[in-house]
Symmetry: C2
Subunit: 337 residues, 2 copies
Amino acid sequence: MATIRDVARHAGVSISTVSLALNGTGPVSDETRARIDAAVAAVRYTPNLMAQNLKRGQSKLIGMVLGDAANPFFGRLFGTIDKHISGHEHMLIVANLASDPDRELRTLTLLKRHRVAGIIMTPLRNDPEFAAHLNELDVPVVLVDQDVDGTALDFVTSDHRRGAEMLTAYLARLGHRRIAYIGGQRNMWAAERRLEGFRSAMAEAGLEVDPELEIVADYSADLAYDNVMRLMSSPARPTAILAANNYMAVGALQAVTDLGFRCPDDVSIAGIDVVAWNSIVMPRITTVEQPIDELARVASLWMMEHVRGEVARIAERRCHVAEPRLVIGHSCAPPPK
Amino acid sequence: MATIRDVARHAGVSISTVSLALNGTGPVSDETRARIDAAVAAVRYTPNLMAQNLKRGQSKLIGMVLGDAANPFFGRLFGTIDKHISGHEHMLIVANLASDPDRELRTLTLLKRHRVAGIIMTPLRNDPEFAAHLNELDVPVVLVDQDVDGTALDFVTSDHRRGAEMLTAYLARLGHRRIAYIGGQRNMWAAERRLEGFRSAMAEAGLEVDPELEIVADYSADLAYDNVMRLMSSPARPTAILAANNYMAVGALQAVTDLGFRCPDDVSIAGIDVVAWNSIVMPRITTVEQPIDELARVASLWMMEHVRGEVARIAERRCHVAEPRLVIGHSCAPPPK
DNA sequence: CGATCCTATCGAAACGGTTCGATATCAATG
DNA sequence: CATTGATATCGAACCGTTTCGATAGGATCG
């Protein structure tokens, strides 16, 4: 592969002159510039970014760590962030955790070895050991969707608590009293916020939470299916089910359908963050949507500010909390008499 | 950030010894090794991959170019490829074309500047100019899903033609004679194969294709919606609709539903590659599924063979054609009397 | 006309590693 | 005891750039 030396030789100038000409730094006569351009084309020169970055001390690479690439939420998040980032001749190194928290530390280390200019991530873990690693990483990080307690990193999220509140309050207004909640892992930040929102809205509506109806299903459709099967087979079954993410809403609807119940006639179902294909799900599920584009825009913007050194590393952490949007579908109705 | 020099100074040895010890190349006494390990921990040394790669002449980065990150097909493809690749301490630089063919060349150039060890891509363009660029790129490339005529690059795909044939034949067996086909862009490789499959299966069944019922909707849900609205409003409306991808199947079902028709009673709908949420779409759409995991596995395997130099650049191109799977749902029935 | 200042170009030193060819030490060999 | 061969370590060159300081020629100035 052609190097800058080949260009210099071909154009009959020194390599420093080639560098000056190509980067537009330093004065170069028009005639020399023309000869260099011709040489570049002749030897098919493509600057070696690894060498440039090594010399400049910073790479034009930004790490992105996704919780689960198969989930459309992350696909849209990545796509939109890529749109913003790639305009600045940067590129994204993307790693997929596949919902496995054990891969998280190893992934961060690998990204650091690549000397990425920054990392945008949706963390899975939220514990002191992980927070310590994050703090010692010495690379700008913007967290998206999930916070990590004990760090002072920029954080962009939608208001998970408020989203759960909106849906719960909506179900309560319809007259439901026995509302089941299918939640995510207990130690994950967003899951905790959603659970808080559910509980607070229940209390606000003067309703009691039956511990039997508060399920932890780890964001998995299968676990949600099994649990809803069990719940709905009990005589004290709920009249409404609130699922904390899109997968679990799918699992819940499937279980309800398989048991021969009709939704929303026999039981109402609402879900958080049911994206994309929701438009053709019958019945269309009532949901709160996360404003993914807004999250991506702010995260990219802040990351580029870090990369350009426009924000001091020690500066106070920034938080952006986006408002979720309640989308009424046809999966909720007043409870059966 | 600590360099190998810091480690050497701290351990009281030369930098070459540190390198030999850390890479396990060359003999190092146990005592020295221990001192070096201690020094690494003390100065918090992380090897600079940019420097290593520069010296070694090859990066541990593999480029991945996605047609449209928001489409779950690409999310799952990326996730599975990442699983295979990252086991070999490689990482993926991912770029999203967002269905815009104009970004394709620029993206490839940028990846080449990063000196990626190889590129896995789902191309959008299929024209001689693009093929020429690909041939001159001088980087191992594995194409997935879409071929580019005029190149001899490794190619992994599912049998698009056969998938369309299976669905068409299925509809014909149910008794449909007026079958509409909603296709993708005419110049895209996979779209052409699917169209071929539709036509061949129609001929095979002794059915005539009404040119009015062969629609090009560019893989867009909105265009499919508009076109199906028009088709179904005509007196000579079809009794079955075959959509060439998941988005268009959704658009078609939506249009049919909005017009007050019932599926499958009034009109049957089948789609290619309706993934993920299909399990709760009511009615569940009959579809052929692409074996994404198989595509990802073979593509990763071939790429790693290229990276390790196990396959000559001039070798004959390899093609892997995976068999799609017909998944019968509830969206198809015999035509109304 | 000598001093001063651009302008255009160049040589050489980095950047942070790897690796090849010394060198030094020491036990085994004939 | 001189030779040989491991074993452990080191110095220096190199990967492909950027960039700083130096140089040389020509125009401008007092």
